[in-house]
């Protein structure tokens, strides 16, 4: 009897915390400023002004989300959430598509334009949804990592897809930023205190494999969307494959400022310049 009451209470609590959300994601064209280069890009944004990186959406389990995707670009686009069966169809220029979504399990989901795969997603039309348990009070930080080959963007937007086996990117970003701008991004820049746990959500929305190395700390793999056998491993270097996402946890044992970067050291450069690439620091106070 006590169990039934607890279960009912649990549902009631969940119902009271879960919310009904109206979310609008707008597909827009714009340019992104990277290290010594300005590239054409396409992104999803909740604003009607172009953002250099698709939005990171943070929801609570069982949120009732009315998601509307609006296409303000001149090309058709699609929308899909990895691991969630729903179809927004082809969204013509100037058109929109709408679905009701309830994600009942906590976790990380990658969303992306499923047309002209993987090139539209490469252009910036891919992002992150993090569904959190309402009881989860751990501070999270988000690294949406991707890279660009400067000549590819205009070529893809012009209607010609390059050969994937010729990919040789020069720009490497976290949440659309390169170092040192990564350090002023509050979503990305880990700050915390000794003894207080934090988690990092890493999503590879690029086409390359990245091998992220942490100075100062080992982190534990809490979730891995591709290789479940890695769960529980304590490591300082984490390979992240295209379309893979990880959740890493750490309770820092000492103060200090420590770099985190791709250990394919070509990727810590940007436009050929050291060190304006996939690099940031984490800052732990006493």
């Amino acid at each position: 009897m006590r169990f039934i009451i607890l279960v009912v209470l649990g549902f009631l609590v969940q119902d009271t915390i879960a919310a009904t959300l109206d979310v609008r994601l707008v597909i827009q064209a714009g340019t992104i400023n990277l290290s010594g280069a300005t590239l054409d890009a396409r992104t999803f944004s909740q604003n009607t002004t172009f953002q250099p990186n698709s939005d990171i959406l943070i929801w609570t389990t069982n949120d009732d989300v009315n998601l509307r995707v609006v296409n303000l670009d001149s090309d058709p686009h699609g929308f899909e959430i990895d691991g969630y069966t729903t179809s927004f169809g082809t969204i013509a220029p100037g058109d929109s598509s709408e679905q009701n979504i309830v994600l009942s399990n906590a976790g990380v989901f990658r969303y992306f334009d499923n047309l002209n795969s993987p090139f539209n997603a490469y252009l910036g039309l891919s992002g992150v949804i993090h569904v959190k348990d309402a009881s989860d009070t751990t501070p999270y930080f988000y690294w949406d990592i991707r890279e660009y080959q400067e000549l590819w963007n205009a070529q893809i937007i012009g209607g010609s897809n390059p050969a994937l086996n010729s990919y040789d990117p020069e720009q490497f970003t976290i949440n659309g930023n390169h170092y040192p701008n990564t350090v002023t991004d509050p979503l990305a820049r880990v700050t915390g205190n000794v003894g207080n746990a934090f988690k990092v959500v890493v999503v590879n929305n690029g086409l390359s494999i990245h091998s992220l190395h942490f100075h100062g700390y080992h982190l534990s793999i809490e979730a891995d969307s591709k290789y479940s056998y890695t769960l529980g491993r304590s490591k300082d270097t984490f390979p992240v494959h295209p379309e893979e996402h990880l959740v890493l946890s750490c309770t820092p044992d000492k103060e200090g400022e420590y770099p985190v970067h791709d250990h394919n050291l070509v990727a810590v450069t940007g436009g050929g310049e050291y060190s304006t690439g996939m690099l940031l620091t984490i800052l732990i106070d006493p």
Partner: protein, 394 residues
Amino acid sequence: MKKFYIILILLVSHSVYAQIDYSKLIIGRNNGAKTLHDGNVTNTFGFAESLGELIDVPGPTIYLNEGDSVEIDFWNMSQGAPHTIHLHGLDVNQENDGVGALSFDVYHMAHGFYRFKAPHAGTYLYHCHVVSTIHVQAGMYGVLVVRPQNGDPNQVWTGGEAYEKELIITSSEIDTNWHTDAVLDHPYDTINPVPVMIPDDYIPQYFLVSGLSDTQLSNPANYYWAAEDAKVYLRQSNAGYYGTRYIYPSSVSARTLSSDGRPLPAEYVNDTLEVYPGERYGTMIQLGSDPFYTIDVEYFDLNTNEVKSTQTYTIRTSMAGLDENSIFSSTIYPVPSSTGVFYSSEEFQSEYEIYSITGNKILEGKNMRIDLSDQPKGMYIFQYEGWTKKLLIN
């Protein structure tokens, strides 16, 4: 009063040094010349353990014991940009992490001291973190092994599995276009950073397994020797910018036990293992009685997944093709040796002895792999059953 302060300072400095269990000198230089498998020679940066030692790529392996208080005295004799030592994976504090902008750079002719407690037993890397994209490619990296607390060289960690031999394998690549003076002599200023440009593309021509490739690896002088039925612990690391895939021979069982200096929650048993830049793994392989075992190492581009090279590393069992009753006759090779490691083509029936040129005995044993890699360059005298041979480390 002045005398009192001097005594106090001496006492304090003595107490600091008294806390150091292990002190190690590492010298950084920019004047390396690495001979590649096709005879080409390329400029390198690198590390050495003594003034008389030429640098090689990778640098010398550093061995520590878990829990030791360690001091590394890094002496930069580069005559170029500053260098540092980043203790990759050891989770040292910010001051000793080797990132100049967050601690200190070590300029030409200066000493930098890194002090830390050796953490969990396992396999780590060390490398320069100044313009690391260029300096690591130039050769400033090496492996650091932390042994169990009791220093046991045949145990993975305290209370962990035992093994007969360990094999340290570091993968890396060389793109010789990155080793020109124009690239290596880059500008650098700690206080007022200036842009440092890298070459347009990274297209390596040489794919190294512990510094060797292609015909160097197929040369019997560079085979790794182990006894029949030996349990060998592979300490694998990737200091390059490509992914690597180890493909084990079908006749051995390979169990990966650790990664990045920590035991895995569960053994990973597979006939292949991928190791990405900066990662380390510990894999136990059980040899049988085959004369040769080969491990293929594939190098793949992280942008395209294309395999660009496959290198083959050979393990030869000590009984392979040898008549154990044969009388020891002659062959110890290579002479000279650039690594300080020599091999015998035949087994020893009794112990040999090796003396320095000044007559001090520095080694004795029956091992067919004669490891003088911890000795300075120079001439050594090998004696066995009344037979004498000069061994040169150059």
